[in-house]
Symmetry: C2
Subunit: 291 residues, 2 copies
């Protein structure tokens, strides 16, 4: 018997992946969580029918979720991850020796527990590193009570359906800005530019209305995500993601650059990732203050 | 009845696309050629079961196939396209006013005829522009008899199976170098870095052994291609694809930059496209002379 998992990106297109076996499947208070083993991509986490990560390409998503903001900020002492229950973004964040305290705020304990068991290469670091604190909490409420606390916030949410819906609202963007120190930086996963231009425009508009001085987008290719291409937003009142990218981080975190454990990100890739193909620039120009 | 087309990239993964109807299907002397209408991507050309192009994202492939080499070469008077029977690469090439003569050498007349009929936005330009000549010929033989003739050669081949297999051989790379003028540039489509690292390494190795001084790779995201990511090689004895990228082309072809018809490519994207993610740099380093 051949088993195939298919995720439909819209009604008329999808990715199909051959499955060896289902390792875990359960419904939490918030969503359906499944972990399957695949022939092509190793183990894969699927939430409400959507691919969250696979062992084969999670490195791209997690490196690009964490490093750009952490590299631009000159002193990322206090970092908050919203979502990210699998531990991948925390693993990348904790590679930065400068990070003194990492708080991970994940609403769904079952995601944390399942990934702790089945994705140790992602979750091990955040469990073992004494700098990390895991909170099982609704981040929407959490950021309201965290005024001026963080240097960097990484919003590693799932798609804007189910429990993550509020993470794409104007109110949340305003609360995010308040939860940052004055020179803080927030980075947010922002969906596929090929399929979800509308969501990207909504995020840009929301971050600008929340008052951020700099709002920029960057992108990477991710084979198992819709269209194979993904975006992130980065926003700050003080730091421009490319103009303020100094070489200082090479002295601060030399292990990230010399004999680096990273497989996607470096400072060249950083600059290139903020260089958007024309069609992305054009749909961003059509809204708000322009790119 | 729901109709779905599925292309399997390897045994365990693929893309699945909902089809409205089959518009054309026939077997030529070389391959099976199908054109279907899809809900998500408009009309789609499928050869031997593999997606060659869709109306929704062909602009990315064709812009990135044609412009980088044509922009780096200061005088692209004589251009050869190998394959490219759909006309998309020719359309992009003919946007360059500097191009005096374009020869397109496509082995399969049925591809040309079917695309002329069903993809007029791709094929119209090459049919109507007096600078273009279409040859229905085996490019492998053609380049052997074309010593020192071309400024730019664009190898817009299908995948290295069927009639395109010879377009990935050492002998062909040597003949390509001979068919170029001394300062000529060749660009070749080079498959998906996520799925076909072995083919990319073979191309790099072949171009270096053929004697090219500069061999570099660049990439773009293409939603309907395997893994959503694609590579091209560029090789020349004289021009480095980034270091020799002057701003002169903006004066030579101003219409490509100001109110440009292009939707993916510009000079910023050019430089970013040659910036490879670490995993690509690493597999390229493991072969030949390094990246």
């Amino acid at each position: 018997m051949d088993l195939w998992f298919t995720e439909f990106h819209r009604d008329g297109a999808g990715i199909t992946i051959k499955v060896k076996k289902t390792i875990f499947i359960s419904r939490s208070k918030y969503q359906e969580i499944a972990i399957v083993d695949t022939y092509e991509f190793g183990k894969m986490l699927v939430i409400d029918g959507l691919v969250m990560l696979t062992e084969a390409d999670e490195f791209i998503y997690h490196e690009m979720m964490a490093h750009p903001a952490l590299v631009v900020h000159p002193r990322p002492d206090d970092v908050l991850i919203i979502g990210g229950g699998d531990g991948g973004t925390a693993r990348e964040t904790l590679r930065h020796q400068r990070v003194e305290r990492l708080t991970m705020c994940e609403i769904d304990e079952m995601v944390i527990e399942a990934c702790r068991r089945y994705f140790p290469t992602l979750s091990k670091r955040v469990i073992e590193d004494p700098r990390a604190t895991i909170l099982v909490e609704d981040a929407i409420k959490y950021v309201k009570g965290a005024t001026g606390r963080f240097d960097v916030i990484l919003v590693d949410s799932s798609d804007p359906v189910g429990p993550a819906k509020g993470l794409f609202s104007m109110e949340f963007f305003t609360d995010l800005r308040s939860a940052l120190k004055e020179d803080g930086i927030v980075a947010l996963q922002s969906e596929s530019p090929f399929y979800h231009a509308d969501i990207i425009i909504q995020i840009k508009d929301g971050l600008e209305k929340a008052g951020f001085r700099y709002v920029n987008f960057y992108w990477a290719h991710i084979p198992t995500y819709p269209g194979g291409v993904w975006c992130w937003a980065m926003a700050s009142d003080v730091y421009h993601p490319v103009e303020d990218l100094g070489e200082g981080v090479k002295k601060r975190e030399p292990h990230l650059f010399h004999r680096s454990p990273l497989r996607y990100y470096d400072l060249h890739v950083h600059r290139a990732a903020f260089t958007l193909p024309r069609y992305m620039k054009e749909f961003l120009k059509r809204c708000g203050k322009g790119e």
